[in-house]
């Protein structure tokens, strides 16, 4: 009563799965870009005076603690009813992923900024730099390099998290996998194939991030 494997279902439908990958990459890249940009003002807000930094803290704690699945459904189902405008599944997904990721990236930026020794700020201010010049010339250039490995980690997590968008109908890799599995009645081969594809895509990226961690040792 051994199971008869039939991998032809996977090979025949590979193009459909590969289509899904391109959507996965688009969703990842778009969300990452949005969060990299939005994360900086949130981080800077968190580092400013307590009277205003609480706003950033609330945002960060809210979106770090909210499960991604809940957020995705909320953006897809609830938000349109509130603002009277419907987003496409992909747009909803990107919005949800960005809201979530921005919170994490803001914390990464904050850690990077505060890791710059305060003595450098003293020296820069003593030369007569304004705070803006201090950030632009001294703090941010160094902080960016330091946070690169952590950002790389976030990218790899994000890449995997896009699979959640399948539940709202975004045609990324997981969604395509489910569709093909249903059509071919061969869930074992198809889902195994999907898992292997994710591994083949994500693992090298994870290795790349490890290399970043090794390469960018912090010297103080």
């Amino acid at each position: 009563m051994t199971y008869q494997w039939d991998w032809s279902a996977l090979w025949d439908n590979l193009p459909l799965l590969l289509d899904g990958i391109s959507t996965t990459v688009v969703a990842t890249a778009a969300s990452m870009a949005a969060s990299l940009i939005l994360g900086l003002p949130v981080a800077l807000l968190r580092l400013s005076r307590p009277a205003v930094s609480w706003l950033a803290t609330v945002y960060i704690e809210l979106f770090r603690n909210l499960p991604l699945l809940v957020l995705v459904f909320w953006v897809f189902t609830a938000l349109p009813l509130i603002i009277g405008y419907t987003f496409s599944p992909l747009a909803s997904g990107i919005i949800a992923l960005s809201l979530n990721l921005t919170a994490f990236i803001a914390e990464i930026y904050r850690a990077g900024i505060t890791s710059i020794a305060p003595g450098q700020s003293h020296a820069a201010l003593a030369l007569g730099m304004t705070r803006v010049q201090l950030y632009k010339r001294i703090i941010l250039p160094q902080a960016v390099v330091r946070v690169l490995p952590a950002l790389g980690s976030m990218w790899v997590s994000l890449f995997k998290d896009t699979s959640i968008l399948a539940v709202i109908g975004v045609a990324e890799l997981m969604y395509q996998g489910r569709m093909v599995a249903t059509d071919t009645y061969r869930p074992l081969e198809i889902f195994t194939g999907v898992a292997i594809i994710y591994y083949l895509l994500a693992y090298p990226q994870a290795l790349g991030v490890n290399w970043l961690y090794h390469r960018l040792q912090v010297q103080e």
Partner: protein, 253 residues
């Protein structure tokens, strides 16, 4: 080192600073003339570093006035970046910018703060690095320089702003003994050229040879003040005596 004409550059009146409930500076009054080299000594915790940092408002005074060229820079509404251009500061731990070369560090002030062109700023930086004896290290990053070399770059960086007064905060305390002389040599040359300097240090030989005056600080107040030879040979105040003898004991061991 003796000024050609008496001309007050810095006048501090009633400078107080409290951290929470702990008083750090208790009413300091001090005058520095153009071209004068004032050496400040005292035990740790006496407030020497806080005093220097109040002068360019890296720390905020709790009360008092600081007149530079007659303008009270401790008054509210003063634009800090502008006044800081005129005051050079060199730190105990150098605080060089690690992501820039020596040339980049020295040129950074002129470029970013004084808005000079890159070429002009680098020319000035080259001159100054030559002056401190580091022409062969202009493209080196701080991590590749010895402590003494880093401190000389830091001095050049402060000088690049062409300040009227230079503040030195225990700039040789973090250096290996054999590197101290190089830095002190640069500071001596600077003094000979007529720079107005306030130097916080334990280097008593330097104080004797280069200083115009020694001020002894204890518990946030100036307890004794006088010419180096006078103070070092016959200190009048008990604290000064204790402090100087403890320094000599350290030297002997």
């Amino acid at each position: 080192m003796t000024p050609a004409f008496a001309d007050v550059l810095l006048r501090v009146e009633g400078l107080h600073k409290t951290y929470g409930s702990a008083p750090v500076l208790r009413g300091i009054d001090l005058t520095v003339q153009r071209g004068e080299v004032v050496v400040m000594v005292g035990p740790s915790g006496s407030g020497k570093s806080s005093f220097l940092r109040c002068l360019n408002r890296l720390e905020e005074p709790s009360a008092g006035h600081i007149y530079i060229d007659g303008i009270d820079i401790a008054a509210p509404g003063v634009k800090l970046p502008l006044i800081r251009r005129n005051i050079g500061m060199v730190f105990q731990h150098f605080n060089l910018f690690p992501h820039m070369t020596a040339l980049g560090n020295v040129a950074e002030g002129p470029r970013t703060v004084l808005r000079m062109s890159r070429a002009e700023a680098e020319k000035r930086a080259l001159d100054l690095l030559g002056k401190v004896g580091l022409s062969d290290k202009i493209h080196a990053r701080p991590a590749l320089l010895s402590g003494g070399q880093q401190q000389r770059v830091a001095i050049a960086r402060a000088l690049a702003m062409q300040p009227e007064i230079m503040l030195f905060d225990e700039v040789t305390s973090a250096l290996d003994p054999e590197l101290v002389a190089g830095v002190l040599g640069v500071m001596r040359k600077l003094a000979e050229e007529g720079m107005t300097m306030i130097v916080v240090t334990h280097e008593m030989e330097f104080a004797r040879q280069v200083g115009d005056r020694i001020d002894m600080l204890e518990h946030g107040a100036i307890v004794e003040e006088g010419k180096p030879n006078d103070i070092l040979r016959s200190p009048r105040h008990a604290s000064t005596q204790r402090f100087l003898s403890s320094l000599l004991k350290e030297r002997a061991t």
